[in-house]
């Protein structure tokens, strides 16, 4: 044992080779030239952190439960320690030393010289030590020792001016890295399919490689090191070598969002460095659902997104909202980006609904990223307000060709339908209502030739059990630097509505290759043909006389569709009398069902080609051209016997629509690391998006022969043609910058400047900024006891501004005259008064969030608070009608509104045994929407239309329920009683047509607007999903629940079903008032009365709670062990059965609380009226991999 002395120094500068080894990815090129002051700070920081460890421990010992409180305490502690350090550093004994590549002994000798301290150490141990570079000036002894012993296998302690050097008890991995061992193995996915392209790295080093086509790897690695297996969309796992040489590893697909890449459409970023708010949905969560477009399957999959079905017809577009309704008159539907190309959305069909998103084969989707806050969406500038859904299609992966075949067969059952009266009850009820009017009976049971009563269940004619089949074949792989993905798919679905079908065939080819070392080119091309076929259902057509859903409810059950001779039972343009003496005036639907045909066919070509050139290391230039062509041909034939074609003796209309969007993008990206720990990625880009929509069509009427049943038959009149044309352009300059220091301190900023042709003030600026802190990456945190529990703690905040132009018509800022004819000569009249100041709607979005991973990410919690403050909303500001302005509105940027809420998401691996696994996701979002201002002097947006049950009023959520208040049914006379605006109870007698007070004195007529009252919001205030995946051996079970609530819905269908016209009624009407003193909520019947039911004056009787809990999807699968098929070259096979859309809980009395009869309307949500909700589906499917 030897004793050595130490001494004082006054300048510090160091470079520790071992320290550098820990960050091999970013090797230092030489000693840094840090000057004194920062160096001192650095040493301070070291202490401050170790002090903090104790502090955190102390806090934990006190059992702080409140995380927020904990954060605050940490912050206070940091400030406090900062002050303490100032004192500590001035009282230390200081040393100056400058040595390069010196042995530890040499440094200790120098220290001894300057301080007079003695050293105790074992000479043998010193051989294990690394050489040290140190250059410090006037720093405390402890700092010099810390620097010298950092990353050494040795440690020291000071006892009475004696420094004792000892071996560390647990040598660190980097120390042991001197001895290499050979390891090898294979990586497979959960299905047992080898995974090529998995990165296998030695933790903390740059040693590593990717698995080959068979998922195999071989590496020479330091003994006792840790292997990290990672791949996008799989859970990263770490395995210690621990003397093993062969590693057979299974990677689980990651539903935990913390390890993935966030694809924004322009850039990608690691989730751990991402500071925005977005949700990731994996494509295979959608592929097995029997839906026509992917959006229908998103319900409950992630927080912040809300999907509401608008109809049970196949391919009707759902209502899709991200973080609330962020516009009043513009669209609140999110921007959908598919491989960088903006998709068309909405409905492009005729009676046959056609959601253009159905042109994307759900099987082709690799992942969906839902961007929610400004940090994530500001890069989309003026299109980002409603949120952005970025869809990435599948690409080939390195390795030999993989062939997958997926198929399912299914059936679709109609939803629960209202229970209607039978013929006998119908006749009684209607005659009672006539009698109450003082009129003779007019309804009678009709007899069949065999003497039985005619008893028609009209449901039987329009509903059926549908079926579906889906086939999807994909080939993918990679050869060298070339990757390819090819798929062909065919879907054929028949709905539960008669003649409602959807047929889609399509192919996709995605390809990329490296031309040279630094030039990559690629292309994605998808062509899809989708044919939609539907008769007129209730989608956006609640009051259509030809709405079959409505017809099937209201038509008299005592009428037969056919006469005894088999001909249609018709009288003029409606169904015949039968035994009744009153004509209904409504159509006999059978001619429609048997002869009408409406189709909407889309041919979609969606393609792009790009070239990316890394012309300087880390600096890439990319040019991308994309084309999105959507051609639709809508054909309709209306029969000459009844309904739409009756008056014209048959009519047919064909319309051809072309939607085209081209997009040219040029961008420069830089991604690199500066000085080891400063990671920077930056983007500067230019984009031109040009959109064109045109259509033309012809109507032919008056069939020359009823043999013809298509447009191509012979008609005597070409009765009209229509055309439209519109184009717009969006020109943008944008960029973003992501910076992080050591992946701990994160900063992201983006900016977009957009010019849009339709606006008067064409240019708008959209900045976004966000910050984040990966607290869990801090050494002090890792080393604290919290670090063991909390594997990830990330705090983040963002603020930014986005715009909204969807819904602004192409020439909205211009004042226009439209040409027409008057008496055959040219006419020209005002058609639009434009706003010469029209500009962007803006949404100022704030988001504060935290991501927490517990117990090695077995549980991941995400929480966000968001506030979207929308202003400059483009309102069609109601103008006094007497001003005579077209549509009585002027478009102005004037309203303000906010959407605020919390989002919580929990992903948990509840059970993780080898055989039995249970993963669960629970998410909940809250929403508070409030309109804070409309135009000056405008407090309300209330537009009179049929059954208006919404109002948009300042201080309330957009489109709140607004109806007159009913107080029930007057037991004395059976009349419905209402509260008028003066608070008086009034009643309406359909017999006298008079409004009276309860004492019989005359009262003012109730007015829907003046006497209406706000009942509540139509927007759900909370919603979410609870998704469970179980697996046991080869069995897997998925159970997805969705829920929503806190809002109201207007059950307009109930108004239809209690209508006192000839309409058939629901059985509820049997509880009607019949005698004085009777207490009931169904008023006395008066034939033809539409007031009591709420049809002409919507009343609160039809307002219901819209809360529900649904079993949205359940599937049970079995994976056959691969050994059965090895000879067949089948690598995997899975069989599954699934069912969807079972309502578990609701107070709603209608068919389904999840319905929006007004489709995508922002101001008239929460309405069920004469449309049919989604049905139940069952499928049996098979996935085969070759």
């Amino acid at each position: 044992m030897q004793l050595n002395a130490t001494c004082t120094i006054d300048r510090v500068k160091y470079y520790n080779k071992l320290g550098a080894a820990a960050s091999l990815q970013t090797p230092h090129t030489g000693p840094s030239k840090t000057n004194a002051a920062p160096a001192v700070q650095k040493t301070k920081a070291i202490r401050y952190k170790s002090a903090l460890q104790y502090l955190i421990k102390a806090i934990i010992t006190f059992g702080v439960k409140n995380k927020l409180l904990l954060q605050m305490k940490i912050i206070i502690a940091l400030l406090f320690i900062g002050f303490m350090q100032v004192h500590a550093s001035t009282s230390a004994q200081n040393i100056t030393i400058n040595q390069r590549n010196a042995s530890i002994e040499k440094i200790l000798a120098e220290v001894k010289l300057q301080t007079g301290y003695l050293f105790v150490y074992n000479q043998e141990w010193m051989k294990l030590a690394q050489k040290v570079d140190i250059n410090v000036k006037n720093v405390p002894l402890k700092s010099v020792l810390d620097i010298s012993f950092a990353n050494q296998p040795l440690t020291y302690s000071i006892v009475n001016k004696t420094i004792i050097v000892q071996l560390k008890k647990q040598p660190v991995a980097s120390y042991a890295a001197l001895v290499n061992v050979e390891v090898s193995g294979q990586v497979k996915d959960e299905k047992g399919v080898p995974l090529p392209g998995v990165t296998v790295m030695v933790k903390g080093t740059q040693i590593g490689r990717q698995t080959d086509v068979n998922g195999k790897f071989a590496l020479s690695v330091p003994e006792r090191s840790v292997l990290v297996f990672s791949m996008i969309s799989y859970k990263t796992i770490e395995i210690g070598i621990d003397g093993k040489h062969v590693f057979n590893v299974t990677l689980e697909e990651s539903k935990s969002q913390l390890n993935e890449v966030v694809v924004s459409g322009y850039t990608t970023q690691n989730r751990s460095e991402f500071t925005g708010s977005s949700a990731h949905i994996s494509g295979n969560q959608l592929a097995e659902r029997p839906v026509t477009s992917f959006d229908q399957a998103l319900s409950g999959q992630a927080p912040g997104i809300k999907l509401t079905s608008s109809s049970g017809s196949l391919n009707s577009p759902p209502v899709f909202r991200i973080r609330g309704t962020n516009s009043i008159t513009s669209s609140a539907y999110p921007l959908i980006i598919i491989d960088g190309v903006q998709a068309f959305t909405g409905n492009v069909g005729n009676s046959a609904e056609n959601n253009p998103l159905s042109s994307i084969n759900p099987d082709d989707i690799e992942s969906i990223e839902v961007l929610k806050d400004a940090s994530a969406t500001a890069i989309y500038g003026s299109r980002g307000t409603d949120g952005v859904v970025v869809i990435t299609t599948k690409r080939g992966k390195a390795g030999k060709m993989k062939i997958n075949y997926d198929t399912y067969f299914g059936m679709q059952k109609k939803p629960k339908l209202p229970e209607l009266l039978n013929a006998a009850d119908y006749v009684n009820i209607k005659n009672e209502s006539l009698a109450n009017n003082g009129t003779d009976p007019a309804f009678f049971l009709q007899k069949n030739p065999d003497g039985s009563n005619v008893e028609t269940n009209w449901y039987d004619y329009i509903y059926q059990t549908g079926h579906s089949q889906n086939h999807n074949l994909s080939l993918s792989g990679g050869m060298g630097d070339t990757h390819y993905f090819f798929s062909a798919a065919y879907t054929n679905q028949t709905g539960f509505l008669v003649k409602n079908t959807f047929e889609r065939g399509g192919t996709r080819f995605n390809f990329d290759t490296k031309l040279t070392n630094n030039i990559t080119v690629g292309a994605n091309v998808a062509y899809t043909d989708a044919l939609n076929n539907n008769l007129t259902s209730g989608f956006n057509n609640a009051f259509g006389l030809n709405n079959l859903v409505r017809e099937s409810m209201v038509l008299s059950p005592n009428l037969s569709p056919f006469n005894a001779d088999g001909s249609y039972n018709i009288s003029g343009s409606g169904i015949g009398y039968g035994a009744n003496t009153i004509l209904t005036g409504y159509y006999n639907p059978l001619p429609q069902l048997q002869h009408d045909k409406f189709t909407s066919e889309s041919k979609s070509l969606l393609g792009n080609m790009f070239l990316e050139w890394e012309f300087v290391k880390n600096l890439k230039a990319k040019v991308n051209y994309s084309l999105n062509d959507l051609n639709t041909v809508n054909m309709g034939f209306s029969n000459p016997y009844q309904a739409g074609g009756y008056a014209t003796n048959g009519s047919a209309t064909n319309t051809n629509g072309l939607n085209r969007r081209t997009d040219i993008l040029g961008q420069l990206t830089y991604s690199g690391t500066i000085a080891g720990k400063h990671h920077i990625s930056a983007l500067a880009a230019y984009e031109d998006i040009y959109s064109l929509a045109s259509s033309w069509g012809v109507t032919k009427t008056n069939l020359t022969d009823r043999y013809y049943e298509t447009f191509f038959g012979a008609y005597s009149t070409v009765s009209g043609s229509s055309s439209s044309y519109g184009e717009n352009g969006l020109r943008s300059y944008f960029g973003n910058l992501n910076y992080d220091y050591d992946r701990k301190y994160l900063l992201s900023a983006s900016f977009r400047r957009d010019g849009y042709s339709a606006l008067a003030s064409k240019w708008g600026n959209f900045p976004g900024v966000s910050i984040g802190w990966n607290l869990s990456d801090e050494e002090f945190f890792k080393n604290s006891s919290l670090g063991k529990t909390f594997s990830v703690v990330k705090l983040r905040a963002s603020y930014g501004q986005t715009g909204n132009i969807s819904g602004v018509s192409n020439y909205a800022s211009s004042s226009l005259y439209a040409s027409g004819v008057y008496g055959g000569v040219a006419s020209l009249s005002t058609s639009q008064i434009g706003n010469a100041d029209l500009k962007w709607e803006t949404s100022k979005k704030t988001d504060v969030g935290i991501n927490i991973g517990l117990w090695n990410n077995r549980i991941i919690l995400d929480a966000d608070y968001f506030n979207n403050a929308d202003d400059g909303l483009i309102l069609n500001v109601p103008q006094a009608a007497s001003k005579g302005i077209p549509n009585n509105t002027l478009t102005e940027n004037i309203g303000t509104m906010y959407n605020r809420g919390f989002e919580f998401n929990i992903d948990a691996h509840i059970m993780d045994h080898t055989k039995f696994k249970w993963r669960a996701n629970f998410n909940i979002s809250t929403l508070k929407n409030k309109v804070t201002s409309l135009a000056p002097g405008v407090n309300d947006i209330w537009t009179s239309s049929l059954e208006t049950s919404n109002i948009t009023r300042v201080g309330l959520p957009v489109g709140v329920m607004y109806v007159v208040k009913t107080t029930g049914v007057n037991p004395a006379n059976g009349l419905r009683t209402y509260l008028n605006k003066a608070g008086q109870t009034v009643q309406y007698s359909p017999v006298t047509g008079q409004w009276t007070h309860l004492d019989g004195s005359a009262a003012s007529a109730l007015d829907a607007y003046a006497d209406g009252v706000v009942m509540g919001t139509t927007l759900p205030t909370y919603y979410g999903g609870f998704n469970n995946n179980f697996s046991y051996a080869n069995l897997d079970l998925a159970i997805n629940l969705t829920y929503s609530g806190g809002n109201q819905i207007y059950n307009g269908t109930k108004a239809t079903l209690l209508d006192n016209r000839f309409f058939n009624n629901e059985t509820l009407i049997l509880q009607r008032w019949t005698h004085p003193g009777q207490i009931t909520d169904i008023p006395a019947l008066h034939y033809n009365d539409q007031q009591a039911s709420g049809s002409v004056l919507p009343n609160s009787f039809n307002v219901e709670d819209d809360s529900y809990l649904k079993l949205s999807y359940v599937s049970l699968g079995y994976r056959f062990p691969p050994k059965y098929f090895t000879k067949l070259h089948i690598s995997s096979m899975r069989l599954y059965a699934a069912a969807s859309n079972f309502i578990l809980y609701t107070k709603y009395t209608g068919s389904d609380p999840e319905i929006s009869a007004n489709a995508d309307s922002n101001t008239a949500a929460g309405r069920d009226k004469n449309s049919v909700p989604a049905g139940k589906t069952f499928v049996l499917g098979l996935n085969v991999g070759f």
Binding site: I582, Y822, G824, V877
Partner: protein, 498 residues
């Protein structure tokens, strides 16, 4: 060494220029996408550029008025439905159920739609008048005068329709009641929402003023029969004045105006301007696209120029072709002997039986239901003239009045002589004239205005499917409420009591 350096420079230049080409190709290949040319409409900036375009705008004023929500259909329909000639066959709130059953409120779409359509026309007129004022140089003085006069004529027609629908009858208090917001200037911005109602009298003053200006500026006639029917000439303005003055009970003025366009002796016809006169056969008046001398103003429709769904007269009142929405009230005017089996009156031919009910067949063009909609027919002038003379009561006037009403009657029933009881006293004669008007103008939208100008109750009526109450002049329901889409914004506009 130098060589190496040159290579490096070459590399930089090569890479730089390739990058430039790449970026430039991306940036430059599109025309200026921010200023697309509008190829489907004409900008307001060029709407007055040529005389042809200005003429097209004049036609545009008529076509705006011709909206199916207004003179092109629903105005006529509402003026029948609120009265007693028609019975609802198909209760449908889209096709006037509430109007028929007297149960509209300020939010009812009929109430909002008619008001909006009327004022839309008024603003189009006001905008046009301001526009030609600025572009006077592009027109001859004559054309400028003609066009201004046509615009004012149309404005008068619009205010007249609105004041009759939404305001108390002039006769009630000589126009002292609340009238309409009187808009005479173009509205193209969000300003000026607030405007109080002028009195009924003030509205009538404006109507008369516009009609006087129209009479002064309108051409005597047009080049074609079609134009004479579809655009206003001097005689059209005069004819309308007889209607307006009749409503205002200014019978002397009715006589003065009527005398300008009714010859002193039968056969009555206009002696100046368009030679307006009755057709020999009333059936030809409703031939579908009628442009003869009887039609002083009609709204033209063709299969490509249609009134729009559920606005068409034939759709409402006819059942073959038509949708059979309203049949004739058996106790209405068709109870008159004119429609009896024994009658030889040609107008009986407009009524037929189907599904057990009587239907009106004046409008009968099959879908697209493009019957012309009559606005002013010459016999109305004769009957207005006759009523004013009858109200004068002196024997000479009485005799002329009888002659005029007989002219209308005998056109359809040549041998007919009115029984003396019906023509001997002024009151009896007035009643006879009014009955004749009901017969002659059945389904043409005169019934409600005629009931209201004489302050009569809107009669009750009963359908199999419901009843409509009688509405006395004192009741709030006697006139329509000011629509909510006005009062909710224009808070100075006082609602009608409900």
């Amino acid at each position: 060494m130098a060589m190496k350096k040159t290579n490096t420079y070459n590399q930089i230049i090569l890479r730089g220029s390739m990058l430039c080409v790449m970026m430039f190709s991306a940036l430059s290949c599109k025309k200026n996408i921010l200023d697309p040319t509008i190829i489907t409409s004409i900008s307001d900036k060029s709407a007055f550029d040529t005389p042809d375009r200005i003429l097209a705008q004049v036609n545009g004023l008529y076509s705006t008025m011709k909206s199916g929500q207004f003179y092109g259909g629903r105005l006529i329909i509402y003026n029948e439905l609120r009265a007693d000639e028609f019975i609802m066959n198909k209760p449908n709130i889209v096709t006037g159920q509430q109007t028929w059953s007297q149960s509209v409120n300020s939010g009812t779409s009929e109430v909002n739609g008619l008001w909006s359509a009327g004022y839309a026309t008024i603003n189009t007129v006001n905008t046009f008048l301001a526009g030609i004022e600025l572009n006077k140089s592009k027109l001859s003085t004559t054309l400028y005068d003609n066009y201004s006069a046509e615009a004012k004529f149309i404005r008068a027609l619009c205010y007249f329709a609105l004041v009759q629908t939404y305001c108390q009858p002039y006769a009630k208090d000589q126009g002292a009641s609340l009238g309409l917001p009187l808009r005479l200037l173009p509205e193209t911005s969000s300003a000026n929402n607030l405007l109080a109602r002028s009195s009924v009298a003030q509205i009538y003053t404006q109507i008369i003023s516009d009609l006087n200006a129209a009479e002064a500026g309108l051409p005597a006639s047009y080049a074609t029969a079609s134009l004479n029917t579809t655009r206003a000439s001097v005689n059209t303005a005069i004819a309308l004045k007889t209607r307006v003055y009749l409503v205002m009970n200014r019978y002397a003025d009715v006589i003065t105006e009527a005398a300008k366009i009714v010859s002193d002796t039968a056969p009555y016809q206009a002696t100046t301007g368009v030679a307006s006169k009755m057709e020999t056969n009333v059936a030809t008046v409703f031939g579908g696209s009628y442009v003869g001398l009887e039609a002083m103003l009609s709204m033209p429709f063709t299969p490509t120029e249609t009134p729009g769904t559920q606005n068409q007269l034939a759709y409402y009142f006819n059942i073959s072709p038509g949708n059979g929405e309203f049949y004739l009230n058996a106790s209405g005017i068709i109870a008159d002997p004119v429609y009896a089996t024994a009658s030889t009156d040609a107008r009986k031919g407009f009524v037929f039986t189907n599904t057990g009910q009587k239907w009106l067949s004046k409008y009968k063009v099959a879908s697209t239901y493009s019957d012309y909609v009559p606005v002013i027919r010459y016999p109305e002038v004769l009957l207005n003239y006759a009523e004013a003379l009858a109200r004068a009561g002196d024997p000479v006037s009485m005799a002329k009045a009888v002659s005029l009403v007989s002219a209308v009657r005998t056109r359809s029933d040549p041998g007919y002589v009115f029984p003396s009881a019906g023509i001997s006293t002024p009151d009896a004669l007035i009643a006879t004239i009014q009955t004749e008007k009901r017969i002659e103008f059945l389904g043409e939208g005169f019934r409600v205005p005629d009931l209201q100008r004489t302050l009569q109750t809107l009669p009750t009526k009963t359908a199999a499917s419901g009843t409509a109450p009688a509405v006395a002049p004192a009741e709030n329901k006697y006139i329509w409420p000011i629509p909510a889409n006005e009062t909710s914004i224009n808070t100075l506009c006082v609602p009608n009591p409900s």
